[in-house]
Symmetry: none
DNA sequence: TATGAATGAGATTTCATTCAT
DNA sequence: TATGAATGAAATCTCATTCAT
């Protein structure tokens, strides 16, 4: 009763998700709060696996050992549940990003640190990346979910903006390359999340590839093998 | 070649296209092949916009000014229509790729040529990229669509394999970097398709960024080591 | 016991029962068990009248003053509803058979008692016989209903086997006639159910005919040989 | 071309049906006539197997190597095709009955001769009995098919009426047993067609049982073994 | 806080039928 | 005589949501 640990149904394949410790002041409606937490985690897995349309309240409710009617006590609609899951997932990711960010590093190292953080998160709970990848698609599709996409995009942009700013200040990024770096980051993060997050070893290799690319070591100019650093 | 894309009335979000009442029986002067082609194009757009689950036969049929029953004359099921659209889209893309490929170019140039081809295709018909991006997600979700995914993946892998091989032979790609280049390509193509193909100018900028990254010019090592290899 | 059969308005042939608009949500004072019982009775009538294929969920739901969706709350599919009706009907019949069976009677009397029981059942609820007659045909047609047919056949065979056994023991049935009596019973029961159960007075006459046939009094050898065996 | 033999598609399981030789005067629309004949035979098999509702024009057309549209050249509707099949089947049966009927026989022998004729017909083309059994059910179900049922019933009743009349005249049937014999015949014919015609050896046994029943030999009175003939 | 029993809207699919060719 | 390309009506089933309990 006092333990807020999430109970997951045995069949639920979705990862448990590391929750940041919540401070427990007075325990009003503790149960409701816990149930909500459990629903968010379960729903994330289902949405990740099936997508917004194909996910059904019934499957989520079943995994939570409830009826669909009970869902409506905690969330006023499917849409609201989805958005709540989305906000929760986004918070988890950016909270982690903030935690691992070391502003004293070089731009490239900071970026790679972030990529490693996504790797670690994926290890801890694969549904996070899966959900966020799926959400990109789902949000585009449903007008009623778009608003959340916009918030999220700005969230992300602001975050990477800071890193890029630092890179520009330190001289790593030529000012005229600012915009290029930004789309590069966007493409790489999206691509890795969407196409590679299913296989952790490939995901890791992709991080290595990005490191090489940023270092200019991925490919050499042809012919006149401009040997660098000798 | 620049086919006349179906015009969707702006307000028409779903199922709005009202079919003008037509009489029973065979319509005059209509050939199945043309209708099939039209359906593929229309369906591609709808699948791209809504995804497999959310797309309805009704919307597709409405846009083609038919009944849903008529759809079933041309395709035996929703799934078959989807797969037909998929094969058609894939063929269009790889046909174009083959057309523009110049094997005498350097690896980087070949890769960039391919990226430019995606850009051009996107210009001619944005639904192609949108559909293929959406398909990546949809296929993951539906077991019954997976088989087609596998074919497609191998198709893509083989294509880029050839370019990479050429790069290795020419010395641009160090043999030990082979695998890195491959995941890099996968991530970049997926990321650009999924996250950037909605805005052509940003898409173009991403191509520029990739060029810079391959040339080692996107970022510089921090601080002092400004001049590389000279 | 004489359950209040559902009244179908005479003109209502199919789908005519218009459900009075009821509000959303749970209706007050309704229990699933009662609804289920009502559905079984209504569905039996509809299946009897139309057969499995031609019977529609809509007609059943209309007669029960529900939506078709509500049907699915009680039975997971049309097939399941049908089989439930079948099991229910079979149980009603054989329960009655067991009730009226008097093993101290002669074989002929036991058989006639059973026939009278079918007559009484038909009086109380004609849909029972009608359904079971129709089911014989429907089951042959649909592979997916066959399994239930097998169970039922064995049920019936076992029941009559017992009566026949008794007849053999008492000497009424010559051991070599065992198999003949068995097919005779099958044919007569099936024939009476299928062809005569629509008219109770004819049905009664058929019972009388069977009594006469078993007593050897239905027909006499032709012409002179009036006294048999001389 | 000159051979009017019915071509049956390899998959068509339905028996070929013995057609009485048609006299071929001038051959106007010979092909249409043959096609019609072929369709009747094929349709009979399909209706027998699936029943009226579940049988589709498509299946019939496929087996006849045609399109459904072509069906409509020969029969104006599904209903008409069905009724045509029915009339044809009935004619085949009663034609055979007339052929085998020997009015000099005793009533019992005439009846058994008829039963043997059904057995032979079943041997030659099982779809005949299957169709007629199924038709009994289908006709009851569809108001629009009822009319044909009535005709058929009277047809049958008249036929057996004649045999029974002869039995009454010869003294085999007591005048007061007339009605009993009639329902007995109806029940037995129906029961054998519906429940036993799938297995020829059981069907034969049923004929034997009827013979025994009519002879008063199927069962003996219990106990006081009223030994007849003493 | 949750369940139980429903609704209404809509999806995919099937099928008899039509009419130009 | 037949095919080809459609229609319209309906059927089964699913699902988000509701409201009494």
């Amino acid at each position: 009763m006092a333990d807020p640990r999430i109970q997951r149904s045995p069949g639920a394949s979705a990862g448990a998700g590391i929750r940041p410790a919540r401070k427990l002041g007075r325990p009003p409606q503790v149960k409701a709060h816990d149930t909500r937490r459990r629903l968010l985690d379960i729903a994330r897995g289902v949405y990740a696996e099936r997508g917004y349309e194909a996910a059904t309240n019934k499957e989520i409710a079943d995994l939570a050992f409830m009826t669909t009617a009970a869902l409506y006590y905690h969330f006023p609609s499917k849409r609201d549940l989805y958005l709540a899951v989305h906000d929760d997932a986004r918070d988890q990711v950016y909270t982690r990003f903030e935690e691992v960010l070391d502003t004293s590093q070089s731009f490239a190292d900071q970026f790679l640190t972030i990529l490693m953080a996504t790797h670690d998160l994926n290890e801890e709970d694969p549904t996070l990346a899966q959900f966020l990848a799926a959400a990109r698609t789902d949000m585009k599709r449903r007008m009623d979910l778009q608003q959340a996409l916009l918030e999220r995009a700005s969230h992300r942009d602001q975050f990477f903006e800071r890193i890029i700013d630092a890179g520009v200040r330190s001289g790593e990024i030529a000012p005229e390359n600012r915009a290029l770096v930004q789309v590069f980051i966007t493409a790489v993060i999206a691509g890795m999340t969407d196409a590679l997050s299913d296989d952790q070893s490939i995901h890791l290799r992709a991080i290595e590839a990005v490191r090489a690319a940023l270092a200019g070591d991925l490919v050499q100019p042809p012919k006149t093998r401009r040997k660098r650093a000798s």
